[in-house]
Amino acid sequence: MENRLAGSVLPLIRHLTALLLFLGVSIAFYAPPAWLGHGLFFYGQGSDPLAYIWFINWWPFALQHHLPLLTSQYVDAPFGADLSWKASVPGLGLVAAPFTAAFGALVVSNALFMISPGLAGWGAYLAADALTGEFAAALVAGLVLGFSSYMTGQMLGHLNLVFVLAVPLCLWAAIAAVKQGGGTLRMGLVLGGLLAFQFGVSQEVFATLCMFGGFGFIALFLLDPAMRPVLRRLIPGLVLGLGLCLLITAPLIWQMLLRYRSAAGNIPSAPYYSSDLLGFILPTPTAWIGGGWLAAVSNLFPGNTSEQAAYLGLPLIVLLGVIYRRHRSEAKFRVLGGMLALACVLSLGPYVHVLGREVSTAPWLLAFKLPFLKSMLPMRFMLYGWVAAAMFLALWLAGPGEKRWRFVALAVCLLFLVPARDVTRNWTGLAVPAVFTDGEIAPESRVLVLPDFGNEMGFQYASGMRFSLVGQGYLGLGAPQPFAQWALFPLLFNGEISDIDPAAFAAYLAEYGVQDVVVTNTNYFNYATMQPLDGVAEAAAAVRMLRAAGWEVVSADADATLLRPVRALTPPSAAQLAAFMREAPTAWIPAARVTKFIKAETRRVCQIRAFARATGMPPAPLLAFYVRHVHPYLPVDAIVCGTK
């Protein structure tokens, strides 16, 4: 009895100790350098972290206010934005909702960023522990994944790609099922929950996890004949897990399928986001050793620094090669080595790049145009390369023989992966102009914030979601429609506000019912020339242009100017619209779909009224309930039901 208790309690204590250790290291690396004062202080750079704060806030906010979860009228108003193909992190948003309610999305988002590498490392530790049974080797495996170049790069600002705990945990579940047996139901439930959570964090990582999981299964089946009976026994559990995951995530999948065509334009180019051949040996600026010196060279690599995950470093590559050569007769090393090589090769994308130039075809050429697979960025496949490398190294460390020198050799190799201080202290402070928080903007207003692209999501979050953003709101790639059809839109987006024709801008603001324009004094950047602009001068020019467009200054301080129209806005005529738009104004939703939409809405409202008549209930509360929960686009009072 005592032995059994020790057998179950001791591993638990060991795992919890490891968790605390990983979280401690992670927080020590990524914690803010000092107390940062007031304002929005967030981990990461650019607009991406603000979008994650907004998303973390969105899920509990939408639930509390009975709003549709997968579309939001708060951005790209008055039409709204679909969230299903964005990095909307519903899994994190919903799981963290109680914390968001208590501490706010800013604190939760920052905390999630800081603990992500530690949690990923802990997941890898659990998998390596299940594989090898050696505590020290498993800890090193956790460090390898938690502080890999994949994690360090994505820590620049991609919460959905850095919170990958479920990836090593799926491997742990599979290894545990192989080693300890256990029922199909248990494995199915564990895998189903993990996969569904991963789908909710990043659909892309979920898809690549399934793909590399499949590759791993096939590799093990082919390279280790002794494992085949065990693998056959695992199939029902795997199928059950996948089925359960699809069931849990069905609403999101359905919305994604409905929006697949419109989302196609928002997917970045796979050839551009491919690992450079030299990227495996040359550090990027995220590495402490050599990253800065070689920045001029690594800047030539495709993609951007946050996505460059291929850097293993020459010492580690040599070590991995030596280990493989010595142990290639063992199936486990063959499988893990094969998976690492496969991830590296596929991460090269459809073409091999050397210093950013395409020099050869590469195997992903077969897949990068296929539906769904085209949504995967090859550089990110290195996550699985790092998982395989971590397990491979843990196996080697846990093997028989003298171990001290193995740890020393590996420590030297891992030294080259230590993140640069600029990365680990990557905090940004955003001063929020008082106009967003002092109540001057009326609730539910439609607001345009200038400059158009950058901080508007942070301002909206800081205001307590007080207003909706018209034709703006950064939640990911893609030009907002139909706003992008206006001739002035490129000027507005690129920060060339003073070049906009005031008459056209007046028509733009009137067409979409903008009630307030806030001109802030910072973050002006010309995205056409990629040059920063003088904020004060640009803001003054924007205010002049708005005055010429018939708007007046309501209030102004050192940070921002609030403007409202002098008189009630008159939407432009069809002829004016045609003159101001680059293309013939097209309906956002095709006409046939609009007709179908109106018919369906009319039918639903009439059914509610018929139900009220049949039961003798008053229709008004029923319709109010319907409006509150379904948020129909048509005013239900205006719907006239036919008499039969």
């Binding site: 073409y351 020099v359 050869s360 590469a362 050429l365």
Partner: protein, 61 residues
């Protein structure tokens, strides 16, 4: 022609030549070699050429 177009054309021509050569020399998997050269030209073509030289000396088989 853009760079990817040139690369694909180069890979196709190399793959066809490798297929023809491998068949002529009685290689076990000429189609496999051609596919590898098409999909991973920068690695597969040098490997094939080295192997061809070694094979030509009668060191394989």
């Amino acid at each position: 022609m853009n760079a990817p177009g040139t690369l694909i054309m180069l890979a196709v021509v190399s793959a066809l030549l490798v297929y023809w050569d491998a068949r002529l020399r009685g290689e076990a998997y000429p189609l496999g070699w051609a596919g590898a050269v098409f999909l991973f030209w920068i690695v597969a073509l040098p490997v094939y050429l080295v192997r061809r030289v070694v094979w030509g000396r009668g060191k394989i088989r």
